[in-house]
């Protein structure tokens, strides 16, 4: 027993928060920094000092008896208190090092539940299990990262999801060999290693209701400790465009919104490229009055229009980035500077034509419709690609770029499923759930592509 204590103090290098208490013949070891001292006091110390004899200090709700020395270290670092008597007991005295359940920041919704995941994996799991009360909800736990030993949980509903996908993801998670998993982003990178596309193939969500909905559709969810997001996979292109929150509204209004969002998607990719193609190459496609209007605005501008367009798009990107990184108390300053410099001053100085500002701003606004950052960044990539094509070859180049985008999207695979799933291998069931909302009659049907086991 003294061996264990000696070894521990040696290996932890006399760490200042490692507390070793000796009460009679009993040793109590815990880390002050990650344990709740009230719990230590209540479960262990009180029992040892006041209780008649040695058995009562095992009164904590989560107590195990340990056999191996390596286990001691692991439990100690996970917030357990080790009690050394004739046996080695580990009592959970984890401190509440978390914030409470708060409102979703990244995916806000006016209607629908207002709870969001936080950094504790147990609470996150609880938020999901509160919504799906079945024994078929299975979670497989991993401890990933050689040094960080982060708890990662794979969640799926048995009988609803494709076993092949589960096995594949399971294998991939087990084969992860890295020193640190700090956040769920690390896992996302390691899982999607083979995907070189700019478009995301794994969905991140901070909403328990979105997660529960996707689980019910036969998808897999990965939770990670210390991360307020979960991963949902496989995710298709349409899942990023249409949030699950749509399901809470009236279907006719929701469908109007969905079509609006689709127009935004097309607009935000092609608008600058189309504008450049039309005013630099294909003037004959613009009506005379509009052409004269644009020409009058461009008279004093010294740059070629494609340079003007690139300047505006880059400035908009910088504005967005600085707005995200800056503390929110400075946010108004950025918007004032942005509006003044980009809007007023550049026009009155004759550097940028007013219509260019309209094009850039509307492109920027339509890209804000989508909540997923990865998707917005991917769209931005293709916006610039199309812009380059259009500034070299006009409308012909624009069509070339659009075809490249379409070919790329239809060639993309997510866990052997097509990325354009409910559209390209057409699925009526999933289409009605995500892309267009019909009546709620058939909500129970599951899509065979996600549920069926592949032969």
């Amino acid at each position: 027993m003294m061996d264990i204590i000696k070894r521990l103090t040696q290996e932890f290098n006399n760490s200042s928060d490692l507390i070793i208490k000796k009460l009679d013949k009993i040793h109590v070891i815990y880390f002050e920094s990650i344990c709740d001292s009230d719990k230590v006091n209540f479960y262990i110390l009180q029992n040892i000092t006041q209780g008649d004899n040695n058995k009562n200090f095992i009164s904590g709700p989560n107590t195990t008896i340990l056999k191996k020395y390596d286990d001691i270290k692991f439990y100690l670092l996970n917030g357990f208190t080790i009690v050394l008597n004739d046996k080695i007991y580990a009592v959970e005295t984890r401190g509440n090092l978390i914030r409470g359940i708060q409102k979703p920041d990244a995916e806000p919704a006016i209607s629908g539940p207002k709870d969001a995941f936080n950094e504790n994996i147990q609470i996150n799991l609880g938020l999901i299990k509160r919504r799906i009360k079945t024994e078929k909800l299975i979670n497989i736990d991993f401890f990933l990262g050689n040094l960080t030993k982060t708890k990662v949980s794979l969640l799926f509903i048995d009988g609803l999801c494709n076993k092949d996908i589960v096995n594949k993801v399971n294998k991939k998670l087990q084969s992860i060999n890295t020193d640190s998993i700090i956040s769920i982003g690390n896992i996302k990178q390691l899982l999607g290693k083979e995907n070189r596309s700019v478009f995301p193939t794994i969905q991140e969500s901070e909403r328990p209701d979105t997660t529960a909905f996707n689980l019910m559709e036969g998808k897999i969810v990965i939770l990670c400790d210390n991360s307020p997001f979960v991963l949902i996979l496989p995710a298709f292109f349409n899942d990023f465009i249409n949030p699950i929150v749509d399901n809470y509204g009236k279907s006719i209004n929701t469908n109007f919104l969905k079509s609006l969002r689709f127009i935004c998607l097309i607009y935000t990719i092609i608008a600058p490229a189309l504008y450049i193609a039309l005013i630099d190459y294909n003037h004959e496609s613009i009506p005379l009055s509009l052409l004269v209007n644009i020409a009058k605005q461009r008279v004093s501008v010294p740059f070629p229009s494609y340079i003007e367009c690139v300047i505006m798009l880059v400035l908009c990107g910088i504005l967005r980035e600085s707005d995200m990184r800056f503390p929110s108390s400075y946010g108004s300053a950025i918007s004032i500077v942005g509006a003044l410099i980009l809007g007023e001053a550049s026009v009155s100085a004759g550097l940028i034509s007013p219509i260019m500002i309209i094009v850039a701003a509307s492109t920027f606004i339509t890209s804000l419709v989508f909540t997923d950052q990865e998707l917005v960044n991917g769209l931005r990539c293709y916006r610039f690609l199309l812009l380059i094509f259009a500034s070299f070859l006009g409308l012909f180049g624009l069509y070339m770029g659009i075809f490249i985008l379409l070919i790329h999207l239809s060639g993309l695979k997510v866990l052997n499923k097509s990325y354009t799933f409910p559209v390209a291998p057409f699925s009526k069931i999933y289409f009605k759930k995500i892309l267009f909302k019909y009546n709620t009659k058939n909500m129970n049907k599951k899509d065979p592509m996600l549920v069926k086991e592949e032969t």
Binding site: I279, D280, H283, E284, L291, V292, I294, R298, P304, S391
Partner: protein, 192 residues
């Protein structure tokens, strides 16, 4: 890597084919053609430097229509764009004697759409040079006037097809009285 090189070659070796900045083209919206031993053509061009709907004119002569158009390209500081042509004014002599030539020239030019109005006048140069009080772009006045009455059968392609098929057709006729354009929709009757 090969694909990228191929793409770069494909894109960058086009040297911006057909690239023309919108404020560097001369937008022609009216053409007048007269004949007096040689062709005299007048272009009415939208003036994008002024706030109002103003226009300026370029005139040139040539033995053939091609010659005359080439001469105009030399005179103009900006690239001539004929894609937004609205009105073609030709003199009485030309419609009676030389319509084949004009038909061939405008039908075979790939930069011109053929849905502009064909109008007859005594002297087209005089009409395009008319100093009007309200709106000095004369071609716009004529095309607006004809647009308002939904005169699709006064458009060039319709008129030409009627002429080819030996049909009688009424073509608008314009004359000038005291700086005012008088447009008579059925003013000129074409007969073979």
């Amino acid at each position: 890597m090969k694909k990228i090189i191929l793409l770069i070659v494909l894109l960058f070796c086009t040297s911006c084919y057909n690239y023309q900045e919108v404020n560097e083209i001369a937008i022609v919206n009216g053409i007048g053609i007269d004949y007096n031993n040689n062709y005299k053509i007048t272009f009415e061009i939208v003036d994008i430097n002024s706030e109002q709907e103003k226009s300026y004119r370029i005139e040139s002569c040539g033995d053939t229509l091609d010659d005359a158009f080439n001469n105009i390209n030399k005179l103009s500081p900006k690239e001539i764009s004929l894609s937004h042509l609205e009105v073609l004014i030709i003199s009485k002599y030309l419609i009676d004697n030389d319509i084949d030539n004009i038909k061939n020239f405008f039908m075979n030019n790939k930069n011109i759409t053929t849905n502009f109005y064909l109008v007859i006048a005594n002297n087209s140069n005089e009409i395009l040079n008319n100093k009007n009080e309200i709106n000095s772009n004369n071609s716009k006045i004529i095309s607006d006037y004809l647009d308002k009455r939904k005169n699709t059968n006064k458009q060039f392609d319709y008129v030409i097809s009627s002429i080819i098929n030996n049909k009688e057709i009424n073509i608008p006729y314009i004359n000038l009285t005291d700086n005012n354009l008088k447009i008579d929709e059925e003013g000129y009757q074409y007969e073979k």
